[in-house]
């Protein structure tokens, strides 16, 4: 299967070339307000493998493949605007690195040649006010006068929200793996702390949240070409956003003080989860979208709305 081949390639390239040192370097900078150095070497490897074109129509892959690869990128906390690159490649092709702005704030605009805003403006001449989210990922404000109006694909905000859902699922999986490994190795009172029931139950709860998140995310992806897409993305953003907080909390608790150090890689995942749940609408925004839809159909049709299959 070509689709599996893409995933295998992505997993191999990401795990071989993205590690804590690469992420640390990408988060560094000459001054506190100038952090964020684009990982050019990693970018070259990603391009070499063709991963920047996944989801593009010429590549023969689909947006479904793009979301699956974005999830893998989330699992290694890939320090580049990978989701924006794939979305731009599919919908807004042009010369040079293109990123997407939520409002006027775009990941890595400092490195981009083109920025597409989520209200349909293509910007090629712009100034940048550097900034970052709480994960240290560049989130730059763009300042511009001229723009070209372009047509966005339908449900664009949902598509962008879906990129964050997929990224978060990758991060959640990684946190579960890190935590299972750590509690199996870390010894206290003469035995691995995985032997303590309190620890086991926390990890079990974590596994439930991760499993629910992945299922919610997959269900949204499965609904992609149907009239349920926005509703399923909304549910996924809500559910995964809720899980992100719970899982990050348990992961840190399990890792103890060690996980609170900058030296440990745990924070590179937990900080991203905390940041991503707020991007393209936090839980409340999407909850209200679903809630209003349910209220509009009314009590007698509420179950049907929740359970109806996509068409």
């Amino acid at each position: 299967m070509m689709h599996d081949l893409i995933l295998d390639t992505a997993e191999r390239v990401f795990t071989d070339h993205c590690n804590k040192a690469v992420r640390d370097e990408a988060e560094s900078g000459p001054a506190d307000d100038q952090r964020g150095l684009f990982p050019e070497d990693l970018w070259a490897v990603v391009k070499e493998a063709g991963l920047h074109q996944v989801g593009g129509e010429e590549s023969g892959s689909t947006l479904v493949d793009a979301f699956r690869v974005i999830r893998l990128a989330g699992k290694v906390a890939l320090p580049m605007p990978f989701a924006e690159i794939l979305v731009s490649n599919r919908f807004f092709q042009g010369e040079g690195l293109t990123t997407v702005a939520e409002g006027l704030v775009a990941p890595w605009a400092r490195r981009a040649a083109r920025v597409v805003t989520d209200d349909g403006q293509l910007v090629t001449e712009f100034d940048v006010v550097q900034g970052a989210n709480l994960a240290g990922e560049p989130r730059d404000e763009i300042v511009f006068e001229e723009f070209e109006s372009i047509e966005l694909p339908p449900n664009f905000r949902a598509i962008m929200a879906m990129t964050r859902v997929a990224s978060m699922c990758g991060g959640l999986e990684k946190l579960l793996e890190l935590t299972i490994d750590y509690v199996g190795e870390r010894k206290q009172f003469g035995r691995p702390i995985s032997g303590f029931q309190a620890v086991q139950h926390n990890v079990a709860r974590m596994a439930g949240e991760v499993a629910a998140s992945i299922r919610a995310s997959d269900a949204a992806i499965e609904a992609m070409d149907t009239n349920r897409f926005v509703l399923q993305v909304a549910a996924a953003k809500v559910r995964v956003g809720e899980a992100a907080g719970i899982v990050a909390e348990i992961a840190h608790q399990a890792h103890g003080a060690m996980g609170f150090t900058h030296e440990h890689e745990l924070h590179q995942y937990t900080r991203r989860l905390w940041a991503w749940r707020d991007e393209y609408g936090h839980e409340t925004e999407w909850q209200q979208l679903i809630g209003r839809e349910v209220a509009a159909v009314g009590a007698e049709r509420a179950w049907a709305l929740i359970s109806d299959c996509a068409s």
Binding site: E173, Q200, A207, A211, A235, Q287, G291, W303
Partner: protein, 379 residues
Amino acid sequence: MFSGLNFEPAQLPTEAEILRTGVREFIAREIPSDYLPNSDFNEGHVPAFSRKLGEQGWIGMTWPKQYGGADRSFFERYVVTEELLAAGAPVSAHWIADRQSGPLLLRYGTEAQKLKYLPPITRGESYFSIGMSEPNSGSDLASVQTRASKVEGGWVVNGTKLWSTDAHRNHYMVALVRTGPPGESRHEGLSQFLVDLHGDGVTVRPIKNIAGGEDFNEVVFEDCFVTAEHLVGTVGNGWEQVTSELGYERSGPERFLSAFRVFVEFVRYVDSNPSDEQSALIGRLASHVMTLRQMSISVAAMLQAGKNPATEAALVKSLGNDFEKVLPELIRLATPRLGPKHPLRCSLEQTLLHSPSFTIRGGTREILRGVIARGLGLR
């Protein structure tokens, strides 16, 4: 996905969605529009309704036709169960027989047992109770003390079973009993017997719960004779059998829909004009139900593929139980104080009164988390 846990994407096949339409029409026809179920417990034991479901072929529907079944898929069964539960239909009479006792007999029973017991179940006429817990054995099921002793022509059962739902109005119990020494694992020497709840040597005493209902029971066996034909499966194989039975018990949508009628009443209450906070709450709860459904459908797909999704079922039950407990609490806080007869308040209060049982019945939250931890390789 990750060690020990695998929720494959699964979508309901077309025939299941076609069936859904029929189930909805049936519900609209058979359940009065002013019917207000308080929770999945109350007034749910209605033989006439169970018989109607039997006529539709919706009980034992995955079983082979020669035993009264309909040879349908687990997906179709999933759709029927979730539609009935979401509507709050009175399904408890046949529920346990359909969900676990029948499948247990199908898997471990003799041909004669299958031919005798399964067809009446599928007709909605024969009801079963669970015989697992005892006064001194709850979560620690291997410690059961009810004993069956071999005698001429059969066995004599002595002991007490507890929390057997509807044993006072059902026909049979599948009882887990000790027939030999526990061995080092404590899992040896257990067997299962089919016991006629109306037979000699059986005393059933209803126990009142905190909601005022008398659904569960103490069942005392005093020199209760059962013939050799009442043994289920193999002598000494009870642990494996009861574990498989628990897999069925934990896998279904009843583990996250117990409080769903409160949600429906809340949507009715806010009508078309919810506040922002009320919309957010409806959306939050709906996103949980949507996700739990998807997970439960994934479990149905594993059952359909002949796999044993014991860990996944425990995980869905655990998540689902926590959800159905928090649902009435959140709705309570999003609703002003209503009059005592208001349907939303009645529904909320009844569900709250039953909610302590959600995380106990069918495996406590603590036991389930242990099962999940084992699946993750932590124990």
